[in-house]
């Protein structure tokens, strides 16, 4: 420790999942929080500062929830390493606040008994005491402390004044000098240790708690519907429909506003700056680059609002329960459901949402298949090609052929995602263990608005900071490729024809010729890496049509005249699978902490895209659609 913070106590909050630890952390630190990552891993490090009544400063750190210090996931490893002082980047906490749900003491006290072996000063916080009292639980606090050998205090994190006792205790602690750190006696608990600890916890409860909590009647009643084999599924589907609708429809005005704003800003910059390289860089590189990232923000905020509300409510574990068998058939975890669903809007929030999956292997599989879900950026491309090539014939009287093709493209995405995870599970991961599906279904609780908003803000900032920097630099790179070298003076062809992008496009054209792509498509695919829908504008540019984006219909007419039907179908097949999105790849890198998974995802998707387009093109040619 440095001389400056010699008096600061470092207090760590430990507890089982669903014990209300984060709500307590929020109540203690208010908005004085900092969210970062632990060095080298994508586990969030939440810390904050608390100034006690007598003016002491305490550094609080909120550790990921865990049932034991054994460390079964990267999050739990962090909790263990911080508590044991094994993490090089963290000094060990001086004091442990062990948070327990007062309505669910058995599991919490077993953890306390395990934590005692670390031999660090500790205070047990019986949180949610109000709910426990309402449900007729009578806890003899003194007796509990005595039997357990750990001082205890009660709290209600979500009530005004509910943490006064706790604050006084922290104030007392902070007034004393930090003690010497005693060597830990903790060893990985064996089966017999766990059993003995649970017996001991049950003994303490028997001695100090008059009556175990009656089941929450509200939870029982709500679960009778929400976990019902039929009504539960209906409710889940309804909920998903609303969520999907919200992510698409509610976000649209805000997204239009953002993209409109950036277009206007770009146009304004074009009038202010002299025509040339600087103007192109500012307008097409910087402004449209930043805009293409920011435009996702409304979708991300709405999606995370739903996820946070459902998580706080206690529904997320139930959705996993209902979906476990269905997802399990493809080798996915029940919890992968929400992230995959989110990926229909955009793979970026979907991949960010995989954090709800605690097992690394399940999380990686989900991240890998998330980009196969038909995201909203594919829609402009699909619509353009379908409108230009597929006649709007009625099928079976009521269905339109165009709609059917669209549906087929969505289905292809879903089916291939399930197939890829199935294959990954049976061949790729064969040697690693499938973790058993075991999780607590917590009692329903009303989400705390403040906590949800704070979390939402943190998610938004994380997205802007992490994705923003990487995506932005990719955008600048793509702009560079599409702009250099400059066209010679007096050239009449579009500028992109002279660029590096065009050179690469022509260079890869022979590779793409077997799947029916001409050089114009090959060139358009390069800026299309920025975002899928950009390919529409790029096609407009390479076919030298003024005002690419607005003239989508015009592009369609042009394409209908230039492409064969087989090429159009191959292009659609390509778009189902192609890793045509630099932003998604950037987010995968951030979330998995390295290039390995980016490369794996990129190449498996590329191979699938090529194969699908090849087969489609050849079959279409054989059908005489060339």
């Amino acid at each position: 420790m440095t001389a400056i913070d010699v008096n600061d106590w470092r207090i760590a909050l430990v507890g089982t999942p669903n014990c209300g630890k984060t709500a307590l952390f929020n109540a203690l630190t208010g908005s004085r929080q900092k969210v970062a990552n632990y060095a080298g891993v994508t586990v969030e490090r939440k810390s904050g500062v608390l100034h006690t009544a007598s003016g002491h400063r305490v550094d609080l750190i909120d550790l990921p929830g865990t049932y034991s210090l054994r460390g079964r996931s990267p999050d739990e490893d962090i909790t263990r390493d911080v508590i044991l002082g094994k993490l090089a980047s963290e000094s060990p906490p001086d004091f442990l606040l062990c948070v327990a749900d007062a309505t669910n003491l058995r599991v919490a006290l077993r953890l306390v008994i395990e934590l005692k072996r670390v031999r660090r000063p500790m205070l047990l916080v019986l949180n949610m005491i109000d709910i426990a009292r309402r449900r007729g639980v009578d806890i003899d606090l003194d007796k509990l402390s005595a039997e357990l050998g750990v001082p205890a205090v009660t709290s209600t994190a979500v009530r005004r004044g509910g943490i006064d006792d706790l604050l006084r205790r922290i104030d007392d602690i902070a007034g004393k000098p930090t003690g010497e750190i005693v060597a830990s006696e903790w060893t990985t608990p064996a089966v017999s240790d766990l059993r003995a600890a649970q017996r001991e916890a049950d003994r303490v409860i028997g001695a100090a708690v008059s009556e175990p909590a009656k089941p929450d009647t509200w939870t029982t009643r709500v679960d009778a519907v929400l976990l019902h084999p039929v009504w539960g599924m209906v409710a889940l589907l309804l909920l998903l429909f609303v969520m999907f609708q919200a992510v698409f429809a509610w976000a649209e005005p805000a997204m239009d506003l953002i993209s409109g704003g950036f277009d206007a800003l770009g146009a304004f910059s074009a009038t202010v700056l002299p025509e040339g390289l600087l103007q192109s860089f500012v307008q097409n590189g910087v402004i449209s680059g930043v805009g293409s990232v920011l435009v996702f923000l409304p979708q991300i905020l709405i999606l995370f609002l739903f996820i946070l509300l459902l998580e706080d409510l206690g529904y997320m574990a139930r959705a996993a329960f209902l979906m476990d068998r269905i997802m399990g058939g493809a080798g996915l975890h029940g919890r992968a459901f929400i992230p995959l669903l989110s990926s229909f809007a955009c793979a970026i929030p979907g991949i960010m949402a995989t954090r709800v999956i605690d097992n690394k292997r399940d999380r990686l599989t989900t991240i890998m298949v998330a980009p196969l879900m038909t995201c909203s950026a594919r829609i402009p491309v699909y619509t353009l090609i379908i409108a230009a090539f597929v006649p709007n014939k009625p099928v079976l009287g009521i269905l339109g052929l165009q709609g059917l093709v669209m549906f087929g493209l969505y289905a292809a995405g879903i089916f291939s995602a399930l197939a890829v995870s199935f294959v990954a599970n049976h061949f790729f991961w064969r040697d690693s263990a499938t973790p058993p599906f075991m999780l607590e279904l917590p009692d329903y609780k009303l989400p705390q608005l403040r906590s949800v908003l704070m979390n939402l803000y943190q998610r938004a900032m994380a997205f802007l900071k992490r994705a923003g920097t990487t995506i932005f630099s990719m955008m600048v790179l793509i702009w560079f490729l599409a702009s250099f070298p400059r066209p010679p003076a007096g050239a009449t062809e579009p500028a992109i024809d002279f660029s590096l992008a065009a050179m690469i496009g022509r260079w890869i054209e022979p590779v793409l010729a077997p799947i029916g792509f001409n050089w114009q498509i090959s060139v358009a695919l390069i800026p299309g890496m920025a975002a899928r829908e950009v390919a529409v504008a790029s096609l407009g540019t390479v076919y030298a049509i003024e005002g690419g984006n607005e003239a989508a219909e015009q592009v369609g007419h042009m394409l209908a005249g230039q492409w064969s039907f087989a090429t159009a179908l191959a292009f659609l097949a390509w778009y189902v699978f192609a890793p045509q999105c630099a932003s998604t790849l950037a987010v995968i890198k951030r979330e998995t902490g390295g290039w390995r998974w980016v490369l794996i995802t990129f190449f498996y998707m590329l191979s699938m895209a090529y194969l699908a387009a090849f087969v489609t093109y050849r079959v279409a040619l054989a059908m005489g659609w060339g």
């Binding site: 309505t103 976990l227 058993p436």
Partner: protein
């Protein structure tokens, strides 16, 4: 929470929780993991069950069954509700409560 009466436990017929139906009410008499599951050692499965509070003597009640193949199951273990697959629940040997003595609402 009182310790289970061991004599009663022995007298009760024990079955794996994984075979029990919704509404089943009983007490854990033993945890016996048959073998490794999909690469997870039997020892690890036993530890995970114990960490969720599933220990000999705990009262269990099956509250809900999943929509497909009645799997997974939601089990009330003393005061907590745990979701797990029948596969893992096969390791939890349970004795049925005397129906008449059942006081659970």
């Amino acid at each position: 929470m009182s310790d289970p009466d061991t004599r009663t436990l022995e007298a009760m017929q024990t079955t794996p929780l994984g075979l029990a139906q919704r509404g089943f009410c009983g007490r854990v008499s033993a945890i016996m993991v048959g073998g490794d599951h999909l690469g997870v050692s039997a020892n690890e499965i036993e530890r995970r069950l114990l960490e969720l509070g599933i220990v000999e003597g705990a009262s269990v009640q099956i509250l809900h069954e999943g929509p497909i193949g009645r799997d997974p199951i939601a089990v009330r273990v003393n005061g907590t509700t745990i979701a797990l697959r029948r596969r893992e629940a096969m390791a939890i040997m349970v004795g049925e409560h005397d129906r008449a003595a059942k006081t659970v609402p």
